[in-house]
Symmetry: C2
Subunit: 97 residues, 2 copies
DNA sequence: GACATATGTAACCTAAGCGGTTACACTAAT
DNA sequence: ATTAGTGTAACCGCTTAGGTTACATATGTC
C-alpha cells in the first residue's frame, strides 16, 4: 500500500472549508438542514467525529454529491489511523497461492 | 446515486468463496493466520460481522490485496443497509449553490 | 452596556458494535 | 468411537454514535 506521512484529510475539514465557509453557512443551520444535532455536526467539523453511512447519505443529499465520496474520505482517514495505531498486522504472512 | 435492488456482496462471502473454498483453508486456520479469534472471522464469513480497518489491514497482508478493497466492499454493503433502514435522509433539501 | 446568536464542550443517557474467552451441540471424516 | 471444524450463545470489557441539557465564551447588533 501507499505510505502517507501525514493523515489523509478528515472529511470534517472539507465540510468546513468547501461548504460552511464557502457558502457562509453556520454549523447550527447545516445541522438543522441535515436533521442531526448541532453536537453531531460540530464534532465532525472539528475532526472529532466520524462520517457514518447515515451521515454520508444526508451529506450527499444536501450537497448533491455521492455518499461514497464522504465514506471514502472517512475510510482513508480511518485506515491511516488504524495502520499507525498498531503494528500487529504488519507481521501477517501472505497465504501461498 | 445508483439504485441496487439487492444488497451488495458482503465481504464475508468473498472471503469464503475466493479464499477459504478456493484454497481449501479452514476458518480456524485463517483466523489463526490473521491473528484474530475464530469467532471474529466466523462472524464475518457468515456475513454477520463487519470488516474493520484493522481487519482490512490483516486481510490485505494475508491475501496480497489492498486494504481499501475490503473496506470498500464493506462500505458498499453498509451504505446499502443504511439507505434501506430509514427514509429520513431522502427528504433532505439540497443547499443552493 | 444589554441582548441575542453561534459555538465548543462537558456531563449524562441509551443503544450498538467489536473482540475476546469459554462452552455447548452438531457435522463430517477417519 | 474419536477427532476436527464449525456455528453460536453467554458473558466480559471497551469504544463509539447520537441525543439532550447546560455552561462559558466569543461576536455580533441595537
Amino acid at each position: 500500500m501507499r505510505i502517507r506521512k501525514r493523515p489523509p484529510t478528515h472529511p470534517g475539514g472539507i465540510i468546513r472549508r468547501q461548504y460552511i465557509e464557502s457558502l457562509s453557512l453556520t454549523i447550527s443551520e447545516l445541522a438543522s438542514t441535515l436533521g442531526v444535532s448541532r453536537k453531531t455536526l460540530s464534532k465532525i467539523v472539528n475532526e472529532n467525529g466520524s462520517i457514518t453511512p447515515d451521515m454520508a447519505l444526508r451529506l450527499s443529499k444536501a450537497f448533491n454529491t455521492t455518499p461514497e465520496l464522504w465514506l471514502t474520505l472517512q475510510q482513508n482517514y480511518d485506515l491511516w489511523q488504524a495502520s499507525h495505531s498498531s503494528d500487529d498486522w504488519k507481521t501477517i504472512e501472505a497465504i501461498a497461492i
